[in-house]
């Protein structure tokens, strides 16, 4: 009997392996949300460049890179707590807090500037860590804990900058918001950016490099640590993660710290880009809400467990690219908010197609 049973587990096999699927198809299916976001981005950004008088040029790329960096960093920030199954409603406020801090610290001698930058990134991470402590040790739901701590961050930002102002090192500001060649020229690197070997990369906008650096040097390695993996595990099934002996508390602390770090980086860049600190409450909440929208458009589930920061960056790009088109096409100005709202609603509703296609309604609940 036993032999007969083990000899044939074919039906079970059929159900475990999707029929005839290669790993690539499996991957594609597991990342359907991201693919949709990429398609949207190609559509919106392609249209914009196609009709822009200087479309597909370095200038336009630089300008767009400056526009997207802060939001992209905030989208990355938001992703990490979302993967846990939480939300961080304080990312916009932390961005603003660090923005105000930077307007005090990032000026002076090169050493002072470097120290100031480190302090800003550290402050963002520290605030995120405090968020994490409230969530882990206070056992308050992330969404409400960060709603509250966001208000506190905003208050602190207002203390630092009761009104907009401050100064950021002008060279830094120029170097960070232009092409790599301008960066080299500003700091006298690579023969003022004229070195022959340097030319093939000279056109790359610095903000894009910064974004890639955060994505590839911070997020990608982090995702492959045990702590990073644990974040996914918690979002997928917290109880199971605990039972599996994973470092729950550490991962939660790390997630919020990382969120604070990315949000702080966003605030720092905003300061560098604008040379000021500005404790603008509506702007902070706009960024927070847009970061959530970016995460969703990127295909990360708000329930946690699946998705990633890179996908959220694509989501942020989609969000931005939608409004790029208003500068090209003649949409009556008072209809623009309506059009933007409708496109946003449509973009976030794309995931609904999956729900409508689901043949087993139980799959919808999770």
């Amino acid at each position: 009997m036993a032999d007969a049973i083990t000899a044939d587990t074919a039906p079970a096999r059929a159900s475990a392996r999707p029929a005839g699927s290669g790993d690539l198809r499996l991957r594609l299916r597991q990342n359907a949300g991201l693919l949709g976001a990429v398609a949207l981005f190609v559509l919106f950004y392609g249209l914009y460049n196609l009709y822009h008088p200087r479309g597909f040029s370095t200038q336009v790329l630089i300008q767009n890179a400056n526009e997207i960096l802060t939001l992209s960093l905030l989208a990355m920030a938001q992703t990490v707590p979302v993967l846990l199954g939480g939300l961080d409603l304080s990312v916009g406020a932390v961005m603003t807090l660090v923005n105000c801090l930077a307007s005090h610290l990032v000026a002076g001698s090169p050493a002072q500037i470097a120290l100031g930058i480190a302090a800003c990134l550290g402050a963002g991470a520290a605030f995120g860590f405090v968020n994490g402590c409230i969530v882990v040790y206070g056992r308050i739901q992330p969404i409400i804990a960060t709603l509250a701590s966001g208000a506190i961050a905003m208050g602190l930002a207002l203390f630092l900058r009761p009104k907009p102002g401050g100064k950021i090192d002008a060279d830094l500001s120029w170097a960070m918001t232009n092409a790599l060649s301008d960066f080299a020229e500003t700091y006298g690197l690579f023969e003022d950016g004229k070195a022959a070997w340097f030319q093939p990369v000279a056109w790359i906008p610095v903000p894009l490099l910064v974004l890639s650096a955060f994505a590839l040097l911070v997020w990608v390695p982090f995702r492959r640590t045990l702590t990073g993996r644990t974040i996914y595990a918690i979002g997928s099934a917290e109880g199971a993660a605990y039972m599996s002996g994973l470092p729950i508390a550490r991962a939660k602390l790390a997630a919020f710290t990382l969120a604070g770090f990315f949000a702080g980086a966003g605030g720092l860049f905003l300061a560098i880009q604008t040379s000021t600190g500005n404790a603008d409450i509506p702007q902070a909440s706009t960024y927070t809400l847009n970061s959530i929208a970016a995460v969703v458009i990127g295909g990360t589930s708000l329930l946690g467990g699946t998705g990633g920061a890179i996908a959220s960056v694509v989501g942020a790009l989609v969000l931005r690219a939608i409004s790029f088109n208003f500068r090209i096409f003649d949409v009556p100005p008072l209809l623009q908010p309506l059009v933007e709202g409708l496109v946003l609603l449509a973009a976030v509703s794309l995931g609904a197609l999956r729900a409508l296609r689901a043949k087993n309604r139980l799959e919808l609940f999770r």
Partner: protein, 319 residues
Amino acid sequence: MNALTVQIRPDTKPILIAAGFILVILGVGTIYTLATQGAATLLSPAYLIQQLQTGAFLGLVAAGMMLVILIGHIDLSVAWTLTAAAMTATAVGGPWAIPAGLGVGLAVGLLNGIGVAYLRVPSMIFTLGVNAVLRGLMVAQTGGFAPQTAATDAMRFIGAERVSGVPVALVVWVAVSLAIGVILTRTAFGRSLYAIGNREAAAYLSGIPTRRVTCLAFVLCSLFAALAGVMLAGYSTKAFQGMGDAYVLPAIAAVVIGGTHILGGRGRYMGTVVGVILIVLLNSVLSIMQMPEAGRQVIYGGVIIVMLLVYGRGERATS
């Protein structure tokens, strides 16, 4: 066991603590007014009634928000639902003003409900999109059609007037509150809200029409926001862009401070009422004390965190 220990249901504790905190706020405010004015103005009936009157608008929004939070969702579109209802009501004018305003609420609620319950887009993001669309509509309408914005007499009546000293707005709030209290505890719909909030799949497989219940919760939420908008327009004698902005986060905060679990499934309506009063008084006292915005924000956030810490830390995912 200590015989004197009074048994308090766990979901009553937040309500008592919040009520206690209200007394603290009044106390601090009174100390301030005594020191600066030499009078305990905050304890006068006139002041308290006025707070309840302005609190009624937030109270209505929070009541709707609570229904949605109970099923584990959230409605971020209340700000512009409120505004759109008010602006539509005043634009229509005449006897149809209030029905038109409520009609906007109904329509928005249905849209939200369909998006969340049938299309299963996360409510957080779908209502955010609906909010953007409503804002767009109102901008287009103001710019393109220059609608009339004066509140009708009926709106003035429910928003601003008093009947033998009692604000009508307060009466409306109390009536809505009683209705919700009964709905939540004594009707199948109310029970279904809790069931869905605890585990939607189980509720669905129990034969609860989860999609319809979810939809209805969103409709009620938008309707209450619309009612608040119509009344607020009456109170201000007019509707204006952005009149709802100040209501979203305070409504969520009031619900949570009242002990409702932000992820749904648990909470008593009484808590939301107490939470609303707490938020309204806190804002008022901070305004009276001329607290700068920075301090206000810090206190606001601090109060929420401290309250939730005092309520007792939530349990773990597994126990």
